[in-house]
Symmetry: C2
Subunit: 386 residues, 2 copies
């Protein structure tokens, strides 16, 4: 096991009705709150009214319209409100995009220059407003981690800002808020969770046994409950298990003692930066192809372990087991109704080289990934997905 520092101070309030705690918890930091949310679905479901009632004693300002791949322009708008109104805490109501934008706003509020500077040079993010979240879709784990991914629409970059100051102070995780989630979002969100776990599981470290077993537990949970949540959107057990799994899938627990750069996420981030596709759908398309591409004599052991421990594959031969595991993964994405090709999400071969170059440039994929990939490798993986 590699040396590791682990400190996750976020206070998780999990379960039905936990939103009520915000009436007193935010007040510990102040009464001026910026409420950040997305496209208005929370108004249809009644969650907006519920939260405004809980926030009855606060002075609430709003920033709505956060995009699925949150944009720098939204961050700029939020930071301006914080500075102008003297905001004391941010309340993000939504999924990873809303929370990520809120995190970026939280530190941009204390920065005089353009918020994009903080993404390009993390050392400039030194202070942040306290961030509270009410999670409405589980996927990114942003409710319990210090990272945020922001898209710069001018430069077509989709990059991460990551700092301990960006851990949410408190996150309300009420599984019932996901009852009204459209099928497609449930599927894409679960694909994102699965990908987070796989990115950490497939790393060249074999002695972090506990971490690998915990990852398998999380994977089994997604594979079991994803289809149930699709089929029965109001199944509390399914929503609850997926919701908590999404938080621990990306709060460093599943990379403890391991580390290494991710593979599929950077390849996907370029796709959604260029074509604004749904992140989880991009991951669903890429993951099985990436698996097939990197399966070799050195990686076959881990792929076989994955197949046996997660999918109960009982083939004695490692390669046979590995391939069966990849096939089961592919079938599961299909069962979740996720797209299988780039064509299905409107991407052709016109920018493959450019995107492959960008994926390598903006990540550790060529130097620190499980299997190091060059621009040409990434292009080949894109081609497998056409």
């Amino acid at each position: 096991m590699n040396n590791y520092s682990f400190c996750v101070p976020t206070d998780i309030r999990f379960g039905k009705g936990q939103v009520a705690c915000l009436a007193t918890e935010i007040a510990r930091f102040g009464k001026k709150v910026l409420m950040v949310y997305g496209g208005g679905s929370i108004k249809k479901t009644g969650l907006y009214d519920q939260i405004r009632e809980v926030l009855g004693e606060y002075e609430v300002y709003e920033l709505s319209g956060i995009e699925p791949n949150p944009k720098l322009s939204s961050v700029r708008a939020g930071a301006a409100i914080c500075k102008e109104k003297g905001i004391e805490a941010i309340l993000a109501v939504g999924g990873g995009s809303t929370i990520d934008a809120s995190k970026h706003i939280a530190c941009a509020a204390f920065y005089d220059g353009d918020p994009w500077d903080l993404v390009l040079d993390r050392s400039k993010a030194v202070k942040a407003l306290p961030i509270f979240t009410v999670l409405t879709i589980c996927a990114t784990g942003s409710e319990m981690n210090p990272g945020a991914v922001i898209s710069n629409e001018e430069t077509k970059e989709k990059l991460e800002i990551n700092s301990p100051i960006l851990y949410p102070t408190l996150s309300v995780c009420d599984p019932t808020y996901m009852y009204t989630l459209p099928r497609r979002q449930t599927a894409a969100g679960t694909a994102d969770i699965v990908s987070h776990i796989l990115e950490q599981y497939f790393q060249p470290c074999d002695d972090a046994y506990i971490t690998d077993r915990l990852s398998e537990a999380a994977l089994k949970t997604c594979f079991k409950y994803g289809p149930i949540a699709l089929e029965c959107p109001e199944n509390y057990e399914a929503r609850a298990n997926l919701m908590w799994t999404s938080s621990i899938a990306l709060n460093h627990l599943l990379t403890f003692g391991k580390g290494g750069a991710w593979s599929v996420h950077p390849i996907e981030h370029v796709l959604s930066a260029y074509y604004d596709i749904t992140h989880g759908e991009g991951l669903a398309i890429l993951t099985p192809r990436w698996m097939r591409y990197v399966l070799n004599d050195e990686t076959v052991h881990r792929f076989a372990m994955y197949a046996r421990n997660v999918w109960d594959v009982d083939a004695a031969d490692d390669r046979e087991a590995a391939l069966a595991g990849i096939e089961k993964t592919e079938k599961w994405f299909e069962e979740m109704g996720l797209p299988k090709t780039l064509g299905e999400v409107g991407i052709d071969d016109s920018c493959l080289d450019e995107m492959a170059k960008e994926a390598v440039r903006t990540s550790g994929i060529s130097s620190r990934a499980y299997v190091k990939l060059t621009q040409s490798d990434v292009r080949k993986i894109y081609e497998m997905c056409l």
Copy 2:
């Protein structure tokens, strides 16, 4: 899944050489440190000198001689030093006993009456000194949780104090510090970890799927690496996996969405309060007998699940599987060289009634345990162990 609040702010510094961070980390709170430790084994191993060097810039006071079942008298002595010297932080160097005593001292330092009051009425513990730990034996998980068990030698009580203010601020978990651990302590410590996981696993809640799978991951880790650590004390992989598993085994992760009172721990706590036996040895004796005693038509499903998922038992019949799982657990304790009977640790039948009564009185075992147990049930379990 039950509603749950989860907030574990402790900063874990895991791995070789992490102790160096104390030179700057404690200083954030002050320069006057009370260093608390046990019987002097850290002087033999050189860890004492190493830490004193790291603390070169601090004003260090010491409280040594913390007992295996830490006593109220030690807490009183520590609290007196804190008040007299104006201590600003506590550094516990040792295992659960030293850390538990340190936690109690940390809050007693701000309390004017006798420290035992804080155990009897937790609402009186309102403030605590920051607690730093250097873990030398993994077992209790105290390095990453807010609980402390203290023995009152006058009243023969062994009770817990538990408050969010008692989370250690930072814990150094360096697996190499366990290389010199005597076999018996390695065995007892691992038995304690196993028992913590089982106490949370065996609860009447079947829908916290992710939590059960995480528990099985932790159990498999203990069962795999316990014997390896016994056989090869300097096996880093074994020590490291056990050390991190001990922390997550009792930081609320494995009870998330579940809950309920524990069973074997309260039955054991009375044994060690009366006879001062090693906690982990008491647990090893009691656990398989408790399992057999509570196995019935209602519990057989979970015992069978345990057997299949943790021990790879493949019996189709639930009862057969359950019994095989219990037998494998028993054999594992035996393989670890742990005692099997109360006689082996010097306990006869003279106080069984009194102890059974005390176990019921001081715990939720008769009202909220997996299988509710009366005084007569507890006595029968003691008898099975004679």
